[in-house]
């Protein structure tokens, strides 16, 4: 449950598929234009999935569906790509030649 002034993430549909611009490709026309934005919850309390109002960092109001309280950044360095190690070994080998420890 979220309380008033909690930092939250909301989701909103900006344009439904039938409102999309004429020049967008067919696959994009099949889906709505969506928006995600963060702000402080204006409502006294709300559950995930409720339609809520938030106050953004520039003090604007936005209305949308509550997705997350204290939204977290989950991006990182991904899974290891072993090919990069091979590139590293190769360029050192060609540039400096032989085993670096020799």
């Amino acid at each position: 449950m979220a309380k008033k002034n909690d930092w939250v993430l909301i989701h909103k549909i900006i344009l439904s598929p039938n409102e999309r611009a004429p020049q967008v490709p067919e696959d994009t026309k099949q889906v709505p234009l969506e928006m995600w934005v963060k702000g402080y919850l204006k409502d006294n309390e709300a559950e995930i999935g409720d339609e809520v109002t938030i106050i953004t960092r520039t003090k604007r109001e936005e209305i949308g569906k509550l997705l997350e309280v204290n939204p977290t950044y989950n991006h990182g360095f991904g899974k290891f790509i072993p090919e990069l190690l091979k590139i590293s070994e190769q360029v050192r080998e060609i540039t400096f030649g032989g085993d670096l420890d020799e």
């Binding site: 999309r20 611009a21 928006m35 934005v37 991006h75 790509i81 090919e83 990069l84 590293s88 540039t95």
Partner: protein
């Protein structure tokens, strides 16, 4: 009175909204036909080089180090014919406050917004420019909104763009993340209308002029250090502002370096396609922006873009995704410099072009960008692999954008591929006259198109002849 907030309603108010949000009346530079007075626009709405340096240096922007890449030069000489292999240098623009050269553009835009009394700034960008505007707005005490194209319809976002949102938020900005589509511009316009903030477009005269200091610094630094101007300067190219500003700064310094544009080849991928959005591994410096913006600059978010790269470009080359990833890893392994991949597009091209040049010549890559979680080759390749992209060693020329990323089996396979400049120039001419289908082309229009394409009136005439316009 309730305003019409439908897509077509908002778009019909575009000119009025833009005029309020930039404070430039573009009409005074227009001729009413194809041509407009580009230099007058740059002169009357921009800043002098000295003023820009003052603005930028006061916010810690510019005077970035120039580094000689001795080991990468050594590697390229091992692959080049005897006597070939120019000295490769890089200008470490990641040293700017927000981690890229975009700080130069943002410094001027935010300074201008504050001078005109705007309370805040808004920029539509998924790239380094967002962080740059947020950083400058933080210093100036202005509010800041960044609008990003970020997710596909499944809510999956490029790690690089998500990282940029984090950085903008860390610098105090409000970030609106949208799904794929050009209607981002619609939301952007409604925000300008709602807030009365300044449109910190990438393409205003002051934004582009902000990069002139980079070109000027390069000329001055090389004269002091090497006693001559660089022979070749390679610019990663997307919207064209990087190349335009750098070239203008070099001209102001009196330098005559050859200007090469480099973009990642994303041929075949549609930029506004929801299903192809996450199939690309580069969010900028690619042909999906580079080609259309070069051949039709005014497709940007201002009536007349100040970024007009074909006016300054001597050569346009493409490199493949696998080549840029390879060179990014090589930069870390041979030079001890870990940088973001987008800025290394020009480096991959320079590595190849250096092998055509003599050993005593100088080739400069004029920018780097910051790196970190999300914005690093590791997460971008991991994301690609998760999206079913075939990542392997081979000949990068076999790479198919959206299907494969091919690292060169050997660095000798890194080859910058020339794009036909005349084809680009003819395309610009065609696009320019298409905007004014009923206009009789005047001598001043011909002159304008010659300048736009860095060609001659004869070239423009023969191009027009080719499309039955004369």
């Amino acid at each position: 009175m309730n305003k019409d907030m439908t897509y077509s309603g908002v778009m019909s108010r575009k000119n009025e909204i833009m005029k309020n949000a930039i404070g430039i009346d573009y009409g005074i530079f227009e001729s009413g036909t194809i041509g407009f007075d580009y230099e007058k626009m740059m002169r009357e709405t921009g800043y002098t080089l000295e003023e820009m340096q003052k603005i930028q240096y006061s916010t810690g922007v510019g005077k970035t180090p120039v580094l000689e890449l001795r080991n990468l030069t050594e590697l390229s000489r091992k692959l080049a014919p005897k006597g070939k292999g120019a000295r490769i240098f890089i200008k470490d623009e990641a040293a700017n406050p927000s981690g890229s050269f975009k700080a130069r553009r943002a410094a001027n835009a935010v300074y201008h917004a504050k001078k005109l009394g705007y309370k805040g700034v808004i920029a539509a960008t998924s790239g380094n420019y967002g962080a740059a505007v947020a950083s400058q707005a933080a210093m100036a005490g202005l509010k800041c909104i960044i609008v990003q194209e970020c997710y596909d319809s499944k809510g999956v976002g490029q790690p690089e763009i998500i990282e940029k949102a984090r950085k903008c938020e860390a610098l105090g900005a409000e970030v609106l993340q949208l799904s794929v589509g050009p209607e981002l511009f619609y939301k952007f316009l409604t925000l300008l209308e709602e807030t009365d903030y300044f449109n910190a477009s990438l393409y205003t005269p002051f934004g582009i002029a902000g990069v002139e200091t980079l070109g000027y610094e390069l000329a001055m630094e090389f004269r002091e250090r090497e006693g001559k101007d660089p022979d070749v300067i390679v610019c990663s190219n997307a919207g064209g502002g990087n190349l335009t500003g750098t070239a203008r700064g070099l001209i102001k310094a009196g330098a005559q370096s050859q200007i090469v544009a480099a973009s990642v080849n994303l041929k075949g991928l549609h930029m506004a396609s929801d299903s192809q959005f996450n199939k690309k591994s580069f969010t900028t410096s690619h042909t999906g922006f580079g080609m259309p913006f070069a051949t039709w600059p005014d497709r940007s978010d201002v009536p007349r873009s100040a970024a007009r790269p074909l006016r300054y470009m001597d050569r346009y080359v493409t490199v493949n995704q696998g080549e840029v990833f390879y060179i990014t890893e090589a930069l870390a392994s041979l030079e001890g410099l870990e940088k973001g991949p987008a800025g290394n597009t020009a480096l991959a091209a320079a590595f190849s072009i250096a092998q055509e040049m003599n050993e005593n010549e100088i080739i400069v890559v004029q920018e780097t960008e910051y790196t970190g979680a999300g914005k690093h080759i590791q997460p971008q390749l991991s994301f690609a692999r998760d999206n079913g992209i075939d990542i392997r060693f081979g000949n990068p020329q076999d790479e198919i954008p959206g299907e494969s990323i091919i690292f060169p089996e050997h660095p000798s396979l890194i080859k910058a591929v020339d794009f036909d400049m005349d084809k680009l120039r003819k395309s610009l001419i065609k696009n320019a006259i298409a905007q004014f289908p009923d206009v009789v082309i005047s001598d001043s229009d011909l002159e304008f198109l010659a300048k736009e394409t860095k060609t001659s009136i004869e070239f423009v005439k023969s191009a027009l002849d080719g499309i039955n316009k004369i």
